[in-house]
């Protein structure tokens, strides 16, 4: 059953990423250069919609809290994010959209995925000596959320948490709607 869901949800996810333009480096670079914020609006709406549905689903008990998986907060998240941002700006791909673009037949995406396998392998080799450093020490309790989700630590619990999460979700959607399609104009 799980394998069936993996095939169906994975294919739909890949399809959507392709259809919103996320697997097109020109759309990604347009967003990062602040000249075409269409994709930023799409992403903000996506986070808002999924978050509101998730927290309402959890509140009324339709979603099993065991499905929630919160990632730990540690200094490496900041450091990894900075390196990620550099690679994202250079290539115009992230791991998911690179895989999807390769499926859509882009050769540059195949090179991105190849580079990704090398980058992941480098990290696997470096992890041993790194693992005991403060880079990986959990901060503020590690796996922690703003609003209570599942059994993970949260800054705001219970019904107040659900309320805050729904409000944040709405803020994302309003922000997305208010965001102009461009901050900077293209010249020439």
């Amino acid at each position: 059953m799980n394998i069936f869901l993996a095939i169906v949800i994975g294919a739909i996810f890949g399809f959507i990423l392709q259809r919103v333009g996320a697997a097109d480096p020109d759309k990604i670079l347009g967003m990062l250069r602040l000249t075409d914020l269409h994709l930023a609006k799409t992403i903000l709406t996506g986070i808002g919609v999924s978050s509101i549905l998730l927290f309402l689903g959890l509140a009324i008990g339709w979603i099993s809290p065991s499905h929630i998986h919160v990632k730990s907060l540690y200094a490496g998240v900041l450091m990894g994010g900075l390196v990620f941002g550099l690679g994202w700006a250079i290539s115009g791909f992230c791991p998911g959209t690179g895989v999807v673009a390769m499926g859509a037949g882009r050769k540059d995406a195949a090179f991105f995925v190849l580079g990704g396998l090398v980058g992941a392998a480098l990290f696997m080799v470096m992890y041993g000596p790194f693992s005991s450093t403060c880079l990986f020490h959990g901060l503020l309790g590690g796996k922690v959320t703003l609003a209570q989700a599942g059994k993970f630590k949260a800054l705001i619990g219970g019904a107040a948490g659900t309320f805050v999460a729904v409000v944040i979700g709405l803020v994302f959607i309003v922000l997305s709607a208010k965001l102009p399609t461009s901050f900077r104009s293209e010249k020439g």
């Binding site: 869901l5 993996a6 949800i9 994975g10 294919a11 996810f13 890949g14 959507i16 990423l17 392709q18 259809r19 333009g21 480096p25 020109d26 670079l29 990062l32 602040l34 269409h38 609006k41 709406t45 999924s50 978050s51 549905l53 689903g57 929630i68 998986h69 730990s72 907060l73 998240v77 450091m79 900075l82 390196v83 990620f84 941002g85 550099l86 994202w88 250079i90 290539s91 115009g92 791909f93 992230c94 791991p95 499926g103 882009r106 991105f112 580079g115 990704g116 090398v118 992941a120 696997m124 992890y127 041993g128 693992s131 922690v144 959320t145 703003l146 609003a147 997305s176 010249k187 020439g188």
Partner: protein, 188 residues
């Protein structure tokens, strides 16, 4: 034509919600590590071995595959698991997405992004090299951070995870200025 941000954002939100409601939050970058592990195991079967004393039932010589009781080692030994099949299926989704692209919008496979072409010219090798280097940095960064755009930014912020907000901040704080400088338009 790509979907507009309203349709695209709602579709993206629904698939992230469906994944967590039915199974677990969407994530991609871990599977680069799993594929590396599968390749390593094919070259040297001793990389991952069965071990009842380890929590997952598997043990690896590599400290990263062996972390959290050999969780990744188990996935390497059993590639037909939800998360790995999910990412493979995304490739098919990308291909399907391309079928729905109008011919006039469809860029030739192996194409060079417009942003790249106008700054660096038509040499495909340079684009492939930049995509490869980007891939190395993006996946190294993802693994250091413990997730990527899907796992940290989308799934993480959906759950209001503090790690998701930090990751998003770190990524954009680098990616925006680098993309603006690297893909600067002539006369801008």
């Amino acid at each position: 034509m790509y979907w507009n941000w309203k349709i695209g954002g709602i579709a993206l939100g629904l698939i992230f919600f469906a994944a967590v409601a039915l199974v677990k939050p969407i994530g991609v970058s871990t599977q680069f590590v799993i594929l590396d592990g599968i390749i390593a195991k094919a070259l040297n079967p001793g990389v991952v071995t069965q071990d009842k004393t380890n929590k997952s039932g598997y043990r690896s010589l590599n400290p990263y595959l062996n972390k959290s009781g050999g969780k990744y080692a188990r996935s390497v030994a059993n590639p037909w698991n939800y998360s790995f099949i999910f990412v493979l299926s995304m490739i098919v989704g990308g291909l399907l997405g391309r079928f729905f692209t109008c011919p006039e919008d469809d860029k030739p496979s192996g194409s060079i992004p417009e942003h790249h072409r106008r700054r660096f010219g038509d040499t495909a090798a340079l684009r492939y090299l930049m995509a490869f280097i980007g891939g190395v940095l993006v996946l190294w960064g993802s693994r250091m951070a413990g997730g990527c755009t899907s796992g940290h930014m989308m799934s993480g912020m959906m759950q209001t995870a503090l790690s998701g907000y930090l990751f998003a901040f770190a990524v954009f704080v680098v990616a925006v200025p680098v993309a603006i400088i690297l893909y600067k338009k002539q006369g801008e």
